[in-house]
C-alpha cells in the first residue's frame, strides 16, 4: 500500500471516529454499551495484529497479557483502593512484564511451538486464578469496588478515544521503519539480522508494546464492567474471538482489528433473534471470509492488491 492509500485510510478513519463520537446523541445506552466493549476488543485485536501480523509471532494467548493487566488492576483496587488511574497503570505495567516473560520463549522457539507456549501461558494463568480464589475471586470472578463512571455516554467516549489513540499509535508504529523491520524479521529473521537489524531488540519491543496496550485495555475493561472474571477476560475462547476479529478485519492492517471486533459484536447482536444458533452463524461467516477473502474486511474495503 502506497502513501496515497495511507492518507486515504487515515481520512476515512478520522471520519469514522467523528461519526462514532456523535452516536451518543441518538443511540440508546444499550447499543453504546455494546460498542464500548467492541472498542476495547478492537484494541486487543490491534495489539495482537502488531505481534502476529508484523512480528510474525503466532500468539494464541492474547488473553495472558490482557488477564495479567486486568487482574493486577482489579486485585490492587480490591486490596488498597488507590485512585483508579494508578490501578490501570499498574495493570499495564504488569502486562508489560508479562510480555517480556512471554517474549523469552519466542526468541528461542518458533511457529507452532511458540503458539503452544502462549496457549500454555493462558492455561497456567487460568489455573492460578481459579486455584488462588481468595485473592482473585476464583471461577466466580473478582468484583472491584470502583468503576470509571456509570454514565453510558461517558464510558462510550472514553472507550472510543482510547481506541482511537491506541489505534493511531499502533498504526503509526506499523507504518514506520520499525514496523518494516518487524515485518522483515517476522518473514526471515536470519536475513533481517544479516542486514544489520537487531531482531531480538525489535521483537522484544513489539512484545512490550503489544502487552502494554493489551494490559491497559484489559485494566480499563475491568473498571468498565466493575468486575473481572476468567470467562470474560482470560478464557481461551476470548482469545479466539480476538484472533478472529483481527483475522476477519484483515491481518497486517492494524485498523482492521477494530472493524473485525465491531463486526463480531454487531453480528452476534443482530442474530440474537435466532437464539443459540447465532454464534454458529457468526463463526460460519468468519470462516467464509477467511476461506474466500484472505485480506479480510479491511482488504475488501480498501481493495488493496497486496496479495495479488
Amino acid at each position: 500500500m502506497g502513501a496515497y492509500s495511507t492518507s486515504r485510510i487515515l481520512l476515512i478513519a478520522l471520519g469514522a471516529i467523528v461519526l462514532a463520537s456523535l452516536l451518543p446523541l441518538g443511540v440508546s445506552g444499550y447499543i453504546l454499551g455494546l460498542l464500548t466493549i467492541a472498542y476495547y476488543f478492537g484494541v486487543f485485536a490491534m495489539a495482537w495484529d502488531l505481534l502476529f501480523g508484523f512480528a510474525g509471532e503466532v500468539n494464541f494467548g492474547p488473553t495472558f497479557l490482557i488477564g495479567t493487566g486486568a487482574y493486577t488492576a482489579g486485585i490492587l483496587d480490591n486490596l488498597y483502593q488507590p485512585p483508579i488511574w494508578i490501578c490501570i497503570a499498574a495493570g499495564a505495567f504488569a502486562a508489560v512484564i508479562g510480555g517480556v516473560v512471554l517474549a523469552l520463549p519466542a526468541l528461542r522457539v518458533r511457529g507452532p511451538y511458540f503458539g503452544l507456549t502462549t496457549l500454555v501461558a493462558v492455561l497456567i494463568l487460568q489455573n492460578f486464578i481459579v486455584v488462588d480464589a481468595s485473592l482473585t475471586g476464583g471461577e466466580i470472578g473478582l468484583t472491584v469496588p470502583d468503576v470509571i463512571t456509570i454514565s453510558d455516554a461517558r464510558n462510550y467516549e472514553i472507550a472510543l478515544w482510547f481506541m482511537a489513540i491506541s489505534g493511531a499509535i499502533l498504526f503509526a508504529l506499523a507504518r514506520s521503519p520499525v514496523g518494516l523491520i518487524l515485518q522483515a524479521s517476522g518473514q526471515d529473521a536470519v536475513q533481517a539480522g544479516a542486514l544489520g537489524f537487531n531482531v531480538t531488540k525489535h521483537k522484544l519491543t513489539a512484545f512490550i508494546i503489544s502487552a502494554f496496550f493489551s494490559g491497559l485495555a484489559g485494566a480499563m475493561l475491568v473498571f468498565y464492567f466493575g468486575s473481572a472474571s476468567v470467562g470474560t477476560l482470560v478464557d481461551i475462547t476470548v482469545g479466539v474471538q480476538i484472533i478472529i476479529a483481527a483475522v476477519l478485519g484483515g491481518r497486517r492492517t492494524i485498523l482492521g482489528g477494530v472493524l473485525g471486533a465491531v463486526f463480531l459484536i454487531a453480528m452476534s447482536e443482530a442474530l440474537r433473534p435466532i437464539g443459540d444458533l447465532a454464534n454458529f452463524v457468526v463463526f460460519a461467516m468468519a470462516l467464509i471470509v477467511v476461506l474466500l477473502f484472505p485480506g479480510g474486511l479491511f482488504g475488501l474495503l480498501t481493495r488493496s492488491r497486496e496479495n495479488g
Binding site: P105, L123, I124, Q187, V247, L287, V290, L291, P294, G308
Partner: protein, 291 residues
C-alpha cells in the same frame, strides 16, 4: 493398593491419549497441518454414538459404529471443505498458509461445538459401554471398560504400525512425511497420500472419540481441552514423530493421574503444563522431534 490403582488408571487414560494424539501427529508429519478442530471432531463422534443409543435406542455396537462413522465423515469433510481449499488457494502466500489453516480449523471446530450445543445442549454425554462389569486386578476394582479401552487403543495403534511399516501404501505415506518432493519424483501422487492419511486420521478420531465417550464422557466444553491436550502431547513428543507422541501420551497421562490421586484433582493438568514449558525451553523440538 494406591500404587496399582494409579498404574491401572494411568495406563487406560494414557492409552486413550496416545490413540487421540497419534492421528494428530500423523497428519502434521505428512501434510504439515495442525488441525485445531481435532477436539471438536472427537466430540462429534461421541455425540453421534450417544445420540444413537439414547435417542434412536440402538445397541452399543451400532452406536459405536455410528460414532466412528461420524468421526470419520466429519474429519474427511474438514479436509475437503477447509484444509484442501486453503492448501491449494492462490490468494494466500505460501508462508501464510499455516496460520490460515490454524485459524480456519479453529473456527470450524467452534462451529461444530456450537452446533452440538444447539442440537443436544451442553450437558455431558456418556456412551453406553460395550463391555460392562468390574474385574479385580491386584486387589483393585477395575471396570472392564477400562481394560477394553486400553486393549482397543493398542490394537488400533498396532494395526496402524503394520499399515505404515508393512504395506506399500503405508511406506509411501512414511516416505511422504520424510520428503514430500522425493515421493512425487518417484511418481506417487501426493494428493492421494494426503487423502489416505486424512482417512486414517478420521478413523482414529472416530475410534478414540467413541472410547473416550464410553470411558469418561464429554460435553461440548471438552472441545478446547481435547485439542489442547493432543497439541501438547504431540509437541512434547516432537512434532511429526508418532512414536514420540506415544511416549509423551504416557508421560502426560501418568503425570495427570499421579497429581489427581496424590495432590488434588483440581491441580490435575498443571504439572503436565509446566513440564511442557520446561521441555520447550530445554529441548524445543520435543522428546523425539526431528527438527
Amino acid at each position: 493398593m494406591l500404587f496399582w490403582q494409579i498404574l491401572i488408571d494411568g495406563f487406560a487414560i494414557s492409552s486413550l491419549y496416545a490413540l487421540g494424539a497419534t492421528g494428530f501427529a500423523l497428519i502434521f508429519g505428512v501434510s504439515g497441518v495442525l488441525n485445531l478442530s481435532h477436539g471438536a471432531l472427537m466430540v462429534a463422534a461421541v455425540v453421534a454414538a450417544w445420540a444413537a443409543g439414547d435417542q434412536l435406542h440402538a445397541g452399543p455396537y451400532a452406536g459405536a459404529g455410528l460414532g466412528v462413522a461420524v468421526g470419520f465423515g466429519a474429519t474427511l469433510l474438514t479436509y475437503f471443505l477447509i484444509v484442501r481449499p486453503l492448501q491449494q488457494s492462490r490468494k494466500i502466500r505460501e508462508e501464510e498458509k499455516e496460520i490460515f489453516i490454524l485459524t480456519a480449523t479453529l473456527l470450524w471446530g467452534i462451529m461444530i461445538q456450537e452446533l452440538i450445543a444447539y442440537l443436544y445442549t451442553n450437558n455431558a454425554k456418556t456412551v453406553a459401554p460395550i463391555v460392562q462389569g468390574v474385574v479385580r486386578i491386584a486387589g483393585v476394582r477395575t471396570p472392564s471398560n477400562e481394560i477394553f479401552t486400553a486393549v482397543v487403543c493398542w490394537l488400533v495403534i498396532g494395526v496402524l504400525w503394520l499399515l505404515v511399516n508393512r504395506t506399500r501404501a503405508g511406506k509411501a505415506v512414511l516416505a511422504a512425511s520424510m520428503n514430500p518432493r522425493g515421493v512425487t519424483l518417484l511418481g506417487i501422487e501426493l494428493s492421494q497420500i494426503y487423502i489416505a492419511v486424512w482417512a486414517i486420521y478420521g478413523a482414529l478420531v472416530g475410534i478414540a472419540g467413541v472410547l473416550l465417550g464410553m470411558f469418561l464422557g464429554v460435553s461440548s466444553y471438552s472441545v478446547g481441552p481435547l485439542t489442547a491436550s493432543a497439541f501438547s502431547i504431540v509437541v512434547l513428543g516432537g512434532l511429526g514423530s508418532v512414536s514420540g507422541a506415544l511416549i509423551a501420551a504416557y508421560v502426560v497421562g501418568y503425570l495427570e493421574t499421579l497429581t489427581a490421586y496424590l495432590v488434588s484433582p483440581a491441580y490435575r493438568t498443571i504439572p503436565a503444563l509446566l513440564l511442557l514449558v520446561a521441555v520447550m525451553y530445554v529441548r524445543p523440538r520435543g522428546l523425539l522431534g526431528r527438527r
